[in-house]
């Protein structure tokens, strides 16, 4: 590990009862870089993310963010530094809270002032019109909701953004918009991304390095360029790649 690494995970294991969902995964992500995790459903890729975010406390191994070792109990500082965007924008916004409330919550919790201006800026940053500020989630489209979720994650000015299939619940045209938004934000803020997806094209679009997971193990780490060129080593990666190119051609 070099000191420039933002995230360092070594031998992470997660258990659900008797099932070991993640069997010793290790990877490191440099500050300002993007790391993609791909795999089929049930390969443990989302579990890695939830363990890293602190939502799943049943893990063992070693995890570091910005040189600080993570414990099961996370400090408020950790939550300022690391934020997450969820897969389903229909489930990740509180149904009885307006956009305004969702965005102000992190500011209130962390005691960050200047709420009014920050919300206006936050909406502008994800290209949402100011008119939706006081709407409820059911008055928004899927793409708008996901933008709100991204804006909420950015409110406390994190350094790491964990993306759990942020586009898979969206229409194809909206997917591209959200992906472009995410890469713009990364370029502007110098964020570190860890993105989980089952879609190789989506991951390769955003991430320079990709880890392929199968049955709770990370079977291959490959650069996005090698992946595109088809220089895969593990048969599962080859299989995933063939599947996704076949889908695109179909």
């Amino acid at each position: 590990m070099t000191t420039a690494d933002m995230i360092d995970i070594r031998d992470l294991r997660v258990r659900f009862g008797t099932v070991e969902a993640v069997k010793g995964v290790s990877f490191a992500v440099a500050r300002g870089a993007s790391f993609g995790v791909v795999g089929e459903s049930g390969s443990g890729k989302s579990t890695v993310l939830r363990a890293l975010s602190g939502l799943n406390p049943a893990w063992t191994g070693h995890m570091e963010i910005a040189g600080q070792t993570l414990t099961r109990q996370r400090s408020r500082d950790f939550y300022r530094r690391v934020q997450m965007v969820f897969q389903d924008p229909y489930g990740s916004l509180h149904p009885r809270q307006t956009v305004d409330r969702a965005l102000s919550e992190p500011l209130v919790v962390h005691g960050i002032g200047d709420i009014e201006a920050r919300i206006v800026r936050g909406l502008a940053e994800v290209a949402l019109p100011p008119t939706i500020r006081f709407r409820y989630p059911h008055q928004l489209s899927g793409g708008q909701r996901q933008r709100v979720a991204i804006a909420r994650a950015l409110m406390a000015e994190p350094e790491v953004l964990l993306l759990d299939e942020p586009t898979s619940a969206l229409d194809v045209s909206v997917q591209a918009e959200v992906l472009n938004l995410l890469s713009d934000i990364q370029a502007r803020r110098g964020l570190t991304y860890v993105m989980v997806s089952h879609n190789l094209a989506v991951v390769a679009h955003l991430c320079a390095m990709v880890g392929v997971m199968q049955g709770g193990e990370m079977v291959e780490m490959i650069s996005a360029d090698d992946l595109r060129a088809g220089r895969t080593k593990h048969p599962h990666t080859t299989e995933l790649r063939t599947l996704s190119t076949e889908l695109e051609e179909a």
């Binding site: 939502l55 400090s75 307006t98 305004d100 006081f134 709407r135």
Partner: protein, 304 residues
């Protein structure tokens, strides 16, 4: 702007799809719920009945015309007439006045019970559901203990143990009425606590109590309100039953159940004496049930 345009613009303000403030958004949501509710004639009938009953009991000194405790032994058990619309009871007291004043006691007790019970049930249920594990097991076993007894018998035992009276009746009914609400709130919390939006709140670093009070409780409230409204009738019946058994309001307080109890000696000959408080109990319970049904349709569409 002309005076004529004023109500239209308020409606437009409420129904605006792009509200300009949190207040407008919240009132707009409430207004839409009210519009939904208004479409249900039975529920509106229930609401109107309850409002009318409430106003009548508040206006009892005006509408009742008589002092509910004033005895007129020359006019014992008089039939309904112009002077006494619903007749008089065994001590010559005006039945109408007693029913109206009694409404204050009965409805007041019901409201007191609900105000005590709903928050207790809500907090216990949410805490058990959200934290799970040991807290859940302890709280739910306590709930089971209370649920295991028939409500009226447990309330009777409590009142008898303390001393008969309005306050102890309220306390006793409250003690026996909270477990279903705790159960309900727990079940709701279990489905809410694993949602992504609660996970997102946890990732802000908010404390568990903040999450419970500001994010989980508001989602449990609608079904709780519905359940409380539907339970109102059974609370009224329990209050009346305690009064009937002499464990609630003490004479000469005109509590509905107690009125029926004293009238049971002449229930067949002077039928109007127990009939009117009986009707009051029936109408109030029915109105609460209709209101509760309507509220459920509006607040909890998925449970229909």
């Amino acid at each position: 702007m002309s005076a004529h345009a004023e109500p239209m613009s308020r409606r437009a303000w409420l129904l605006n799809e792009s509200p300009a403030s949190r207040r407008q958004a919240a009132w707009g949501r409430r207004y839409r719920l009210w519009l939904d509710f208004r479409r249900n004639p039975l529920a509106m009938a229930g609401l109107c009945t309850l409002v009318t009953l409430g106003l009548l009991t508040l206006a009892a000194p005006v509408v009742g015309r008589y002092d509910p405790a004033a005895q007129d032994l020359a006019y014992r058990l008089a039939e309904p007439s112009w002077a006494h619309w619903f007749g008089t009871d065994e001590l010559g007291r005006d039945v109408l006045a007693r029913v109206l004043y009694g409404g204050r006691i009965t409805l007041g007790m019901v409201v007191a019970v609900v105000l005590l019970v709903a928050p207790i049930g809500l907090v216990i249920g949410i805490v058990a559901g959200y934290f799970g594990g040991f807290a859940d097991r302890v709280l739910m076993r306590v709930t089971d203990v209370f649920l295991a007894f028939p409500r009226l018998i447990l309330a009777l035992a409590f009142v008898a143990a303390i001393q008969p009276g309005i306050t102890s009746a309220i306390a006793a009914i409250a003690l026996t009425a909270w477990p279903p609400y705790a159960r309900l709130a727990r079940a709701e919390t279990l489905t809410i606590r694993n949602t992504d939006f609660i996970a997102a709140v946890r990732l802000t670093g908010a404390s568990p109590w903040r999450i419970i009070l500001r994010h989980v409780a508001p989602l449990c409230l609608p079904s709780l309100i519905v359940r409380v409204t539907l339970d109102m009738s059974s609370i009224i019946l329990t209050v009346a039953a305690l009064g009937f058994l002499g464990m609630g309001a003490r004479p000469p307080s005109p509590e509905w159940g107690a009125m029926i109890a004293t009238a049971r000696r002449f229930i067949l000959t002077q039928w109007w004496v127990p009939l009117v408080p009986g009707l009051a109990i029936f109408v109030t319970s029915l109105a609460f049930n209709l209101l509760g049904d309507g509220l459920r349709d509006v607040l909890d569409p998925k449970q229909r």
